[in-house]
């Protein structure tokens, strides 16, 4: 077991850090204050190969590995939770299911532009009545000759306002329950497809979170992803991978908060000393650092198992559960250690705390992760 990063991963880390520091960090406050989706950053990331890291070059990707991709989300999230989730949702929730389940034609037509970052991706599973209980899909898809007609709506869809390509889950055969759900590749300008209400959120405010509305939406039958009835399985597997991305986002948020606390406490003086010299500060930081290091091990392990094509469902769930709860705990402590200044928007820690909360909820709540982990222990 070699716990050291390889030379190429160290160089990747350096590149991600440099990009995050120079291109992402200066915009982070504005992206949050103005709830602005950073289109220019997405273009730059595309140019540098950050929108298709784990996909093979033959499909427009960078030929990288899952660990290299996960480190990218981590480093971006250290300075901006919004930017981290843009990459994560695009790569894990849209690019990956097409790569893992698509036909050669579908990969050439959709994966290539996604991997190159020429198009942005999103994933539509969640509905008003189907959140944690994802099986209750109300969106229907009816085959009519050479196309399906989709009717229904999705909510809380990340990247929706700017995405070109959506993976949409819909019920093709209600009588079969979860085995009657199918997955579709839907383009934004398919007739009957529209992006609806934009959610105002507590955190990751620059992330575009919207409703999707399908009213007799025409989807060519070539756009069925995988076989009919296999959609739920595809969605669950997709979320397994997506969980590692979100775990990486949480990891980055926690680490970023610790960096800010270390910097601040070394400058701030009270009672005639730097507050970093108080044992309370030191002990808190020791705990916070240990929590995030533990999270990192879980995240990187899950990534490596996925790369090695070993079963990783439980590992991904543990990584996401632990990293999200750690991030919430660490960012909250960070605000506390900053004192009054930490509560103001002049310093980034309150944003990091607001951003961290969602990592405990989306792509499977912490409760869902516990269900997955205990199922893997054989105790459900």
């Amino acid at each position: 077991m070699d716990y050291n990063l390889s030379k190429e991963h160290l160089l990747l880390q350096e590149m991600y850090r440099s990009f995050a520091e120079n291109e992402v960090k200066p915009l982070a406050e504005e992206v949050d204050e103005e709830e602005r989706f950073p289109v220019e950053t997405v273009k730059k990331m595309a140019r540098n190969g950050m929108m298709g890291i784990p996909f093979p070059k033959e499909y427009g990707g960078q030929g990288g590995d899952v660990l290299g991709y996960v480190m990218c989300v981590e480093e971006l999230s250290k300075v901006c939770g919004t930017t981290g989730v843009i990459v994560s949702a695009h790569t894990s929730l849209c690019g990956a299911p097409i790569y893992e389940n698509g036909t050669e034609e579908q990969k050439q037509k959709y994966l290539v532009p996604l991997a190159k970052g020429e198009k942005l991706g999103a994933f539509g599973l969640t509905e008003p009545g189907a959140g944690t209980d994802a099986s209750g899909q109300q969106t229907k898809a009816v085959l009519e000759g050479d196309h399906y007609v989709l009717n229904g709506s999705k909510i809380f869809i990340t990247n929706a306002g700017y995405a070109d390509i959506f993976i949409i889950l819909a019920m093709t055969d209600k009588s079969k329950g979860t085995r009657g759900i199918s997955a579709f590749i839907v383009e934004r300008d398919f007739p009957g497809f529209s992006v609806g209400k934009h959610e105002k959120k507590m955190g990751i405010k620059g992330s575009s979170t919207c409703e999707l509305v399908m009213e007799n939406c025409i989807v060519p039958k070539e756009n069925l992803l995988g076989a009919e009835g296999k959609g739920f399985g595809i969605a669950m597997k997709t979320l397994d991978g997506g969980r590692i991305g979100i775990a990486a986002q949480a990891l980055g948020l926690g680490e970023g908060a610790i960096d800010e606390v270390v910097k601040y406490t070394k400058e701030r003086t009270q009672f005639g000393r730097r507050i970093s010299q108080f044992q309370n500060t030191q002990f808190q930081l020791a705990d916070m650092h240990t929590q995030m290091e533990a999270a990192k091990l879980l995240v990187y392990k899950a990534a490596c198992k996925k790369e090695a094509r070993q079963p990783y469902t439980k590992d991904a769930a543990m990584a996401k559960l632990f990293a999200a709860e750690a991030a919430m705990s660490v960012t909250t402590k960070a605000v506390q250690l900053f004192g009054g200044y930490g509560y103001t928007r002049e310093y980034p820690v309150e944003r990091m705390m607001r951003d961290a909360k969602i990592t405990e909820i989306y792509e499977g709540t912490s409760e869902v992760q516990r269900m997955v982990i205990s199922a893997n222990l054989g105790v459900n």
Partner: protein, 330 residues
Amino acid sequence: MSKNVYVYAEQRDGVFQKVAYELIGKAKELAQDLDQKVVAVALGDKITHAAKELFSYGADQVIVVDHPTLLEYLTEPFTKAMYAVIKAKDPEIVLYGATAIGRDLAPRVSARVHTGLTADCTKLEIDAETKGLMMTRPAFGGNIMATIICPDYRPQMATVRPGVMKALEKDASQTGEVEVFDAGLSENDVNLKIREVVKETKKVADITEAKVLVSGGRGIGGAEGFAALKELADELGGEISSSRACVDAGWIIRDHQVGQTGKTVRPDAYIACGISGAIQHAAGMEDSELIIAINKNNTAPIFDIADVGIVGDVDVIVPKLTEALKKIKG
């Protein structure tokens, strides 16, 4: 036997640069220690007459290479000319201004001659024992100083930044005969074609690149306060910067803002004028090499991080400081 201290007297558009006078001033001291002479070398087109003034700044001899190929700076004709003079005269020392010209010419000449060159010297002295030139310069990004010698090769060459050495007072009574030197130049030496020469005014400063920053805070009273700070900055070869308060008040544009929500700077010297030094500002400048703070309020937090703190009135001290600096420069 190599002899005499030579100075490359840089000219642009027929006007000799201040650094040339400064180097002649320094050369005079070195020549004295060596009991030798100062020779100024001017390269240009139709500059023989103008070169006479170099005597009045302290040159004992003036050599001119006057040729059409030397109208505008180009490496090869200038290198060939300088090389010819050096080969013919065998100088002990040659000094060049460390300008965009000197830092191009000197290395090429040193390689053609096969001798040592030391760049950006801040101090030049003759070693009493060896009579060799001791050249002191900053290294490692300015974090250390090194004294360099060139014991076995001649001439010993050095470049010196403008503003480091001191020119002598012009003495019009000092004059002499300019020696016109034929360096064997021809059109063939012009191996690159200058398509266009575009003369420019100074661009907008980037405070993160400045070596010296004179920074204003609420205590300077208003936008006009920056005029005095700019004068001081000019004397020190630096730029002006500001705290957030002045930017918010509209006294100066955001490009100059230092601090948590502004830029982080690490100049060699940061002079904080009327700045309280709240933590958001300190975060942007506390790694400055030297921090000097002037503030009326003796409890201002800036004094916790300043190397030299003065409790006083910025409006009085800054103009006096500028005057005093002008006097030193002479």
